[in-house]
Amino acid sequence: METTSTLLTWIIFTPLIFSFIALLFPTAFEGKLRTLTLIQTLISALLATVMYFQFDGSLATAQMQHFMSWLPDWGLNYIVSIDGISLPLVMLTAYVAPVAILGTWPSHGVELKKEKFFVMMLMFLQTGMYGTFLASDLFLFYFFWEVVLIPMFFLIGIWGGKERIYATVKFFLYTMVGSLLMLVAIFYMVKTSADLNGIASASFSNLSKIPFAFDNRSLLLALQSPQVLLFLAFALAFVIKVPMVPFHTWLPDAHVQAPTVGSVFLAAVLLKLGTYGLMRIAIPFFPQAAYYFREFFILMGVIGIIYGAFCALAQTDFKKLVAYSSVSHMGYIMLGLFSFQKVAMAGSLYQMINHGISAGGLFLIVGFLYERLHTRNLSDFGGLSKTVPLMAIGFMIMTLSSVALPGSNGFVGEFPILLGAFQVEPMYALFAGTGVILGAVYALKAYQLVMLGPATRTDLDHLHDLNLKEITAMIVLTLFVFGIGFFPKTFFGKSDSSLNVYTSTILEKVGTNEYQ
């Protein structure tokens, strides 16, 4: 039974509608544009919450589908729907958005150039993200996937730091080139589907049923079989976005140059587009191919965990440190997804959310500091916690979440991933486990350099603690950190049946039932 509703469409396009309102905003009210954005994000969050309560957790299939014919002859349809896998990601987007807006509210007297365009881009970005998570049609997915690039390009390119042009071009080209092969793959898939069924359709439900030929008699034969080629085309697009080592170098640059709100969205949501793509398309559509290459991706994930942590440790730029910590934490998701084990795969989904919260929070902290002291250099801070105790507490909570302390949300992601991965790939999991140590090393180093020790600056008089908006942002994140940490069931319970069916289907297809 499929329920039809336009709610998802509203969720996707509410930000876009608001961006038109913003466009038509009289210049006299330009100061109120942020308030408008906040209202938009709150409305989106409200819609998402309504959707969350309407969502039936007992169903494993896609729900609330909205179908509109677009270019039917070419197999182009507008189909959006939601299931237990996209649900947490949509909720993450919906709640991170107002937090990001609140946490990066410009202080008095700071006039941002082209404020109108800025908020429009923020809204545009949200439409892209919601769309990508909710699309149930491969063309539509691709469309939204690429849409996301445009506002991000401008956010970094116009409002970024000194090297913003270099960073934004790198970001844009890198991700764009990655997705080109995906487009080719989509064409091939739709053509195959048309040949098989007589009608062209790019809907997930249709394409996922096509068994693309796969040959694993030798590596060379495998590399020539359609399924592997398609898988690799998609995987390339997705792992660049994740980012998986060695395709990660765009990330530190983009993060460092991006304005805080951009960094928050980038870390909290955009990176998850990559892992979501893997989870939604690359793995279930081409399970044998994914399984065939699983060890490679596990290896890269583990390398990412360790290498990212080492890189983070060496950074002197606070923002870069957090950026590399993202590389490290996203490695866990790769490990979990490709370990083809129920607990680990579920953990990967949780980790997507949890990393969104902790990395988002940490970037907010970087932003708070930058706005007050105009530096991100770790050696420029020190002993701040006396002056800004609230910020110190917020930072500490995000640090705990980042080092995956039990009781915080980070543990809820990392523990199942490591536990699950260990059941099937103990050696890799063991190496990944060293990330537990290294993670603490760089996280505590950053915390100490910023907050502890003797005060090194003399200009701390104008350093004011978090204001009400910033406190609100941090409190929301904190509630999620401990809420998820203690009651993961309450937050992720609605994903259970989807995850169950998802993992069993895949494991059945690849024919492994070891340790399940």
Partner: protein, 658 residues
Amino acid sequence: MENMNSVLPALILLSPLIGFFINAVILPLAYKGFAKTPANTAGGVATSFIGFSFLLALISFVKLSSAGGANPSLTINCFEWFNFGGLNIPFELRIDKLSGILVLIITGIGTLIHLYSTSYMHDEECVGRYFSYLNLFCFNMLLLVMGNNLPLLFFGWEGVGLCSYLLIGFWYTETEKANAGKKAFIVNRVGDLGFLVGMFLLFRELGTLTLPEINLLLANPEVVTRIMPSVTLICLSLFVGATGKSAQMPLYVWLPDAMSGPTPVSALIHAATMVTAGVYMIARLNPLFELSPLALSVVAHVGAITALFAGSIAIAQTDIKKVLAYSTVSQLGFMFLACGVGAYQTAVFHLMTHAFFKALLFLGSGSVIHACSGEQDMTKMGALKKHLPHTHLTMLIGSLAISGIPFFSGFFSKDEILYSTIALPGGVSYLFVIGVVTAVLTAFYTGRMMSLTFYGEKRYSHEVEHHLHESPALMTFPLYVLAGLAALGGFLGVPHLLGDYLGHMPHYLSKWLNPVVPAKVLPIIGIKLHLHEGLVMFGSSVLAMVSFFSGISLFKKNLFVKDLFSAFNPIEKVLSNKYYVDELYHFIIVTPVRKISEFSAGIIDKYIFDKAVNGIGTQVRKIGSGLRFFQTGDIQTYALMMLLGLLLTILFIFKILL
């Protein structure tokens, strides 16, 4: 098995958490600032909440002791924590006879230390912060011992690590103290990885992480045969976790540094409770460790070597807290030695008596430090006895207890350990020798510490003398309570030999623990048993007394202090520099990690990964510039190209080219 549903465990756990919340959130809101909560309010709140837990712990203790059944316990399933994909971990708490004792120790000593802190930390800034951490610590520690499955135990395990980090670095404005906290956390994390791996392996083998289920499965011979190949690996992995938390070789290095935290913290966390977590874990999983004689032997050896090693370092320390820190490492080694030879009950017994006398000694040292205006160097003390009568008296009792003077508490538990090393099948004679030597060292450095602090000539400055004062009642009261426990606590575990003379007084602790931690049957029986036991007991008490009093008398003479130090200069130097282990670790771990990270970020990332990407970009641009040659904008050239193309196509179509 009598399993009672009871809300008590949940309340015991919740109470300090509420205290934490009040001190961390509500009081700062009420007083509009973090540093503004008055010390008495903060301390009062924290103390009452942990005190309430203690009351509930007493009630549950009574309930347990009056309950029927072989292995009674109070259990409550609070909520579902993890439940997906075949992993089911409820948030379930359980107090049985083993955790019952630990809960009593944690809340009881915890309450005393909270009380003491109220006075000790009175003039500090941010007392609210201090007490909130202290309450949070108790929450986590209680979770550690009450958690009914390994992930929950790990929750507490990591949680106490966090609180330890926060409290060691309580005076965070000093870089050294902040560093000490960081070091503690990171070293513990190394151990935690071992714990995690052990847990994963156990899940892989048994499919469950619930403690009673694990122990139940291990009672099944079929299961045992199945998991036999990996059991040593599991035990050793878990033991790596224990070495981190319980400061054993090679991961003990954080504990001496941890002394930079406030002294009551050292008493609670780094002496009485947290550091014994590893011992608790092994005692709790004793059916598992029993399966691997090899792992047990490793435990015993690591324990013995740590005990000796740390004991020898303690002799040369001049900082009173450092002496106690190394002494703690050494005593924990004793407990692991006991575990390793299979005397789990004895380990728990020593854990308990050690909690009494070491908490007492730490609090006493805190009182001394307080009196000496923050001075911790014993070479600047001496002759404090007349100024600090209460502190002196109680610390003397603690010293007698730790030294193993009959019939103070340490005497009973230490003796039982020593005896176990030869009496139990897992024991080896040289472990016994190491144990005896360590016991002698212990008595000696304890005597030395007492002597340097309280006796001999005064070496403190006039300024210090001016402020010299005995601590207030709020601090001496806990000292006396602990002194009472340290003096008499041993009678809970009177050995049969003495028990027979004391009107057949039984070994209460052993009887109590038997359902959870069964006592090993001694292989030597009959009259010989008594003879051996008596010999060990007599010998060790004589040695302890001799070495304790020689420690006292040698260091009473001021001259001797200097003479000794200069006479044994090279050895003294090695010892007081703690065998240069920190330097070694710095060389083999810290520096390489830093180098690798700099290499990763500075070379690999910059010049390989990024160069490759930008290189592709540059190449594309170069190719583009090359192709520009054809884009002349000249119509004639384009026309020529078209013509050539057309020609090629025609040739191709008519297969002339092929």
